[in-house]
């Protein structure tokens, strides 16, 4: 009754081709944005901003980047954390080495540097695919982190490559409090997410999906494989790079290369599996799930331990966390291989017919 597209007639091409063609979707997005920009800052506490909301947005952005590459273009990558590291270190160096560089520009330059590195490590994708490619992207993961640790110039000669990011100043305004940082991250993420949403339905996005579904067939119908695949690597790495810069500047403030470990790459991969491979919204849902799960288990496990009188040490709790993590991933793949985004899709289809399904 509420969610129904019947009666929404499109009379212009512009109306037919807009990003959210259904009116309820448009209203929903506007309400969501209003809540995120106005509602949340009014009610959330400082802890929520700095420990949950900011990392959520940053990881959602990184997951979005990986989703473009893996979900849309079908190239499996296990090196997303390394591209985040490139973004973070490049943004830091642009700030450091160029006098008066606006911070947003250095974020973008960080993203562009990551894109360049991404294209370089994406070159093997022209010859190899599938698991071979996944292993090849591991080369990026290990090599980049090693480079950042061993070349002191990249971290301004600090020991073991730790960098402390510069002050966030945009148009003379200092971003110090968690709320301000949250709003900054949110604005960047919203812009990039909408751009991605727009991109994947353009001819580029369609070419990616054709390559994903079968690259030989795609090349037969006239899609040039090399530019398409490399563009996917570039844009995906750009998103990861910007996410990395935000991770360093707005979340932690001080990062080391080893922080961008293989484990983090896997975490981002899990986000898109659980959220939904090949879905923009899935990246957000997955990031929320993966970030909230450990917090949830942290609260829940001691409670259960007390309930059943089990002696849980903190080591056991962390083991159970890993175990539940793994079990959930297998569970999701078995029950809903298309992730949380698919559940949302099903809910929408049900809503369309509700309350008269027959």
């Amino acid at each position: 009754m509420l969610y129904r597209e019947a009666g929404q007639f499109k009379t212009t091409y512009a109306a037919d081709q807009q990003l959210f063609p259904i009116r309820q979707d448009r209203i929903g997005i506007l309400v969501l944005l209003a809540v995120a920009f106005l509602g949340v800052p009014l009610f959330a506490s400082e802890y929520w901003f700095s420990a949950i909301l900011i990392p959520f947005l940053i990881f959602a952005l990184a997951a979005l980047g990986l989703n473009i590459l893996t979900g849309y273009a079908g190239q499996l990558s296990l090196g997303s954390a390394a591209f985040m590291a490139v973004g973070a270190y490049a943004a830091y160096n642009f700030q450091l080495r160029i006098e008066g560089m606006p911070i947003l520009v250095s974020f973008i330059c960080g993203g562009l540097t990551a894109a360049g590195v991404g294209v370089l490590f994406g070159l093997p994708s022209l010859r190899i695919k599938g698991f071979y490619l996944a292993v090849a992207t591991l080369a990026a993961q290990f090599f980049i982190v090693w480079c950042l640790t061993k070349f002191p110039w990249l971290s301004n000669n600090s020991s073991s490559g730790v960098i402390s990011t510069q002050q966030l100043i945009i148009f003379g305004h200092e971003f110090n409090t968690p709320v301000e940082k949250y709003l900054l991250v949110l604005s960047i993420v919203v812009v990039l997410a909408l751009a991605a949403k727009n991109l994947v339905r353009s001819s580029t996005g369609r070419a990616w999906m054709a390559v994903r579904d079968m690259d030989v067939a795609a090349s037969v119908i006239g899609i040039k494989l090399m530019p398409t695949k490399l563009l996917a690597f570039a844009i995906s790495s750009f998103y990861c790079g910007v996410a990395g810069a935000l991770y360093a500047f707005c979340y932690l403030g001080s990062v080391e290369p080893d922080g961008f470990s293989l484990e983090m790459s896997f975490k981002i991969l899990f986000m898109i599996i659980i959220g939904g491979v090949g879905s923009i919204m899935g990246s957000f849902l997955g990031a929320a799930f993966i970030l909230l799960l450990p917090i949830f288990l942290d609260i829940l496990l001691p409670f259960f331990a007390e309930l059943f009188g089990l002696p849980f040490s903190s080591a056991t709790v962390s083991h159970i966390q890993i175990l539940v993590f793994g079990a959930l991933i297998m569970f999701f793949l078995i029950v809903e291989p298309h992730g949380l985004a698919r559940l949302w899709q099903i809910a929408k289809e049900k809503l369309r017919l509700w309350p008269f399904p027959h």
Binding site: I128, V135, P152, I329
Partner: protein, 304 residues
């Protein structure tokens, strides 16, 4: 020159250890087309089971049998509860499921057997062989040599098993074509259970070798990361490929670690150790650009 050969032989022998882990990957990939990322975690589980059983007072031989039983049971359970439900899913989904499986094991194993690093004594000492030291002035570990022997025996056994037994023939048939194998009456799911059992056995051997060498600890799961470049170099489907790939990776990585950092130091200054971490991957990557299917892999022909 002596030093060069010492490094080379040391590298080749450590390459054998990588090949041990890579073998487990090849087994499962060959028979079921699943890229089993959990192989490293299985190595960890196997080594922990041996140590855990020995701590409970079991002698070594009993501990090995018990660990083998655990690995087999685990493999069958994996097949029954995870992979069977994922039949007909794309290979990527299966791969991701095995990553989940790896996490599951990494949480479960230390919960049962404890997570503190322990030594595993299987009766071989890690000391240089006197003869090499006297005659050639080279340090070559006895342990590495034993590991190499074990690996050769294992490979020979597996090769015979694949070639001459009834089950082995069935395994090859399944690897060739699932549907054709099914249509002539080969029970696919039993075969998969067997494959996982054999992979568990390979993991057990690898786990004992690595555990005796470096101690039984969480770092054992990283052996999988060492085996991946070996795999892509040798080809996912080839048992000899895993061995040759292991030898190449082991030797080149040790040589690179010795000879590249000084050169880079001259060029850029600073300390460039730790090349071992990424060199195998870059080597494998460069190799893939020339031969995308690996040394002994099957050539992949695309059809629309």
């Amino acid at each position: 020159m002596n030093f060069f050969f010492e490094v080379l032989i040391g590298g080749l022998l450590s390459g054998v250890m990588y090949a041990l882990v890579a073998l487990g990957f090849v087994m499962i990939y060959k028979a079921s087309g699943v890229f089993n990322f959990a192989q490293g975690a299985m190595v960890y589980l196997a080594a922990l089971s041996v140590v855990g059983c020995m701590e409970k007072g079991a002698p070594l031989w009993l501990a090995i049998i018990l660990a083998f039983a655990i690995m087999t049971a685990f493999g069958i359970a994996t097949e029954k509860f995870v992979l069977r439900k994922l039949v007909n899913q794309p290979p990527i989904a299966l791969f991701m499921a095995t990553i989940g499986l790896a996490f599951f094991i990494e949480g479960l194993a230390p919960m049962i057997f404890g997570s503190e690093p322990r030594a595993l004594d299987i009766g071989i000492v890690d000391e240089p062989i006197a003869w090499f030291l006297d005659e050639w002035n080279m340090v070559i570990s006895k342990f590495d040599l034993v590991a190499a022997a074990v690996a050769s025996v294992l490979v020979a056994t597996l090769a015979l098993f694949f070639q001459y037994t009834r089950v082995g023939r069935a395994l090859r048939a399944v690897a060739d074509d699932h549907q054709a194998a099914l249509s002539i009456g080969i029970p696919l799911q039993n075969i998969w259970a067997i494959v996982w059992g054999v992979a568990g056995f390979v993991a057990l051997v690898a786990g004992m070798m690595w555990g005796a060498r470096n101690g039984v600890q969480f770092a054992l799961t990283f052996t999988a990361l060492k085996a991946l470049p070996v795999l892509i170099l040798g080809g996912f489907t080839s048992v000899p490929g895993a061995i040759v790939g292991g030898l190449i990776i082991g030797a080149s990585e040790k040589l690179a670690e010795i000879y590249i950092p000084p050169v880079m130091q001259d060029l850029f200054g600073g300390n460039f150790g730790g090349i071992e971490g990424w060199f195998p991957y870059v080597l494998a990557l460069l190799f893939l650009l020339v031969r995308p299917e690996g040394l002994f892999g099957e050539k992949h022909i695309d059809r629309v």
